[in-house]
Symmetry: C2
Subunit: 309 residues, 2 copies
């Protein structure tokens, strides 16, 4: 199974062939998108509705009723990536995030052993409130479970990292079309030749997501996403992919390829896959992450993450 | 003489050959830039220094002591374009500016007959306080003078329009190099195929200025100039000049061509030549403008024009 995108495949890792994997075996995200177009089908698998509040989503996860992707759930509320590490690795990972705030914007970090939150929700239990988790030992996937209570330890530190769903919602609200959402597929993601600032064992290249936009939309998108530094903020590059080591936009390293029209520029944002890739490269003895697309649904409104420049 | 850029030439208008004109006959701006590199030479022609306050510049203009370009004078203070029209044309011109705020950002508009200001300075006399003026009759240049007192009428309305000097200063302050300033030449300007919103007799294409920037600088430049809506604000286009009717970046319609490196994108801002071009196309019976580069130097700080997004 691909460790990053969750595709079943003979290959163990997402690589240049990830597009083919995506086509052969639709990733979880596509599955989750399907119910968005069919309220009936959606209701047949869960009591959640498209207007469910974040707490309802978390309780549905806690009860085991909801164990799939969270894209589109609790619209208007921010979702977050999760990385859990033992205290011995947590300090270095925190430093890695702080040195690379564009790909790794920290929304909240817990005290060791604490599985509740302060900023993102007050009633959450990080051991149960995500739909699905991945447990890693020495960089290898050891288990995929919907509840990590049995794995919990008093030295575990949880990192909640901003997610692009928030700024994509803001783009759409401003009439800027987002291609992969229109197509109902995953955003195309690319490894760049831009190294992250390393911190101890954590290192690796910046991974970016790409959205094709008309120039006037690209300018507006810079303005809009600049206001959301906690969810990757402004793009890191625009228009000249060769300069950051991307040579074929139709062959993303992760996610799905999307068409770029002749009147569009590719616009690149720092991506939350960066910290996951750094984590896997570091191969810590023990780690837990969310499963791809199975994010933590917070009580923080997307709009409250908007900061005046 | 070219009506827009002030170059002496057999041609009557700036056109595709303006670059050659610039080379043959250095425009006033280049003259003004020269003194910047030679304090001695500068002091030989005026008591003004590079740190003179705006009021000192205006008084030097009023006394006739300063009658050339204002680029680089009173650094940190905003300068403005000037258009003066009889009341009968002023309403339509105001509407033209209001319908096209990116190329024509109105900083202040006077009452008919009033030659003083409120916002930009409290002690200014618009009849004397610019270095050089142009007087137009039916769209033709009728006189170029350093004092318009003899032309003043009780029905004249003055329009002070924002100037890109302010945002260029902000770019440089943020370590973003501005090519034409480095080269000591005029910014390259292009007519686009984007029509302005017409208002009565005033109409015409949007004119843009172009600055080549590396992608990361272009993104930062969008963020910075977005904060200055009163001086043209964010770029209107980036990267695909064909889409706005520009087919040869080495042949600007006005100003000087500048080199674009392979790792740079052309970034386009709405330009203050737009209202001047609309004015000349409309050919009103009577009008007065500043001479090219001979701006009104205001008491308003560049920083005070910065607006949070």
């Amino acid at each position: 199974m691909c460790r990053l995108c969750g595709n079943s495949s003979k290959k163990n890792d997402c690589g240049k062939e990830s597009r083919r994997h995506d086509r052969d075996t639709p990733p979880l995200r596509q599955w989750a998108i399907k119910w968005k177009s069919s309220e009936k089908e959606f209701q047949s698998v869960s009591a959640l509705t498209k207007t469910s509040m974040p707490v309802e989503v978390r309780l549905a996860c806690r009860s085991g009723e909801w164990a799939m992707q969270t894209s589109g759930l609790a619209p208007g509320f921010a979702q977050a990536n999760l990385v859990i590490l033992p205290r011995e690795d947590a300090a270095e990972f925190r430093q890695f995030c702080e040195r690379n705030p564009k790909p790794c914007p920290l929304l909240e970090v817990t005290e060791p052993g604490c599985h509740s939150l302060n900023r993102l929700a007050t009633d959450a239990d990080l051991r149960t409130d995500l739909p699905m988790y991945r447990v890693w030992r020495k960089g290898e996937l050891a288990a995929e479970v919907s509840d990590i209570t049995e794995f919990w330890r008093d030295d575990l530190v949880s990192f909640l990292i901003g997610c692009s769903f928030t700024f994509e919602a803001a783009l759409i609200e401003n009439q800027i079309p987002v291609r992969h959402i229109e197509l109902g597929c995953n955003v195309p993601m690319f490894q760049t030749n831009v190294p992250c600032q390393p911190a101890g064992k954590f290192h690796g290249p910046l991974v970016v997501s790409m959205r094709p936009l008309k120039p006037a939309h690209a300018i507006r998108a810079v303005q809009i996403t600049s206001q959301f530094p906690d969810v990757h903020g402004a793009p890191i590059h625009i228009g000249l992919p060769h300069d950051i080591g991307i040579f074929d936009l139709q062959k993303p390293d992760f996610g799905d390829a999307v068409r770029i029209a002749t009147d569009e520029l590719p616009v690149f944002w720092a991506c939350g896959v960066t910290p996951q890739a750094a984590l896997m490269a570091a191969k810590p003895d023990f780690a837990i992450t969310h499963s791809p697309g199975c994010m933590f649904v917070s009580d923080v409104k997307d709009s409250s993450l908007r900061q005046p420049n």
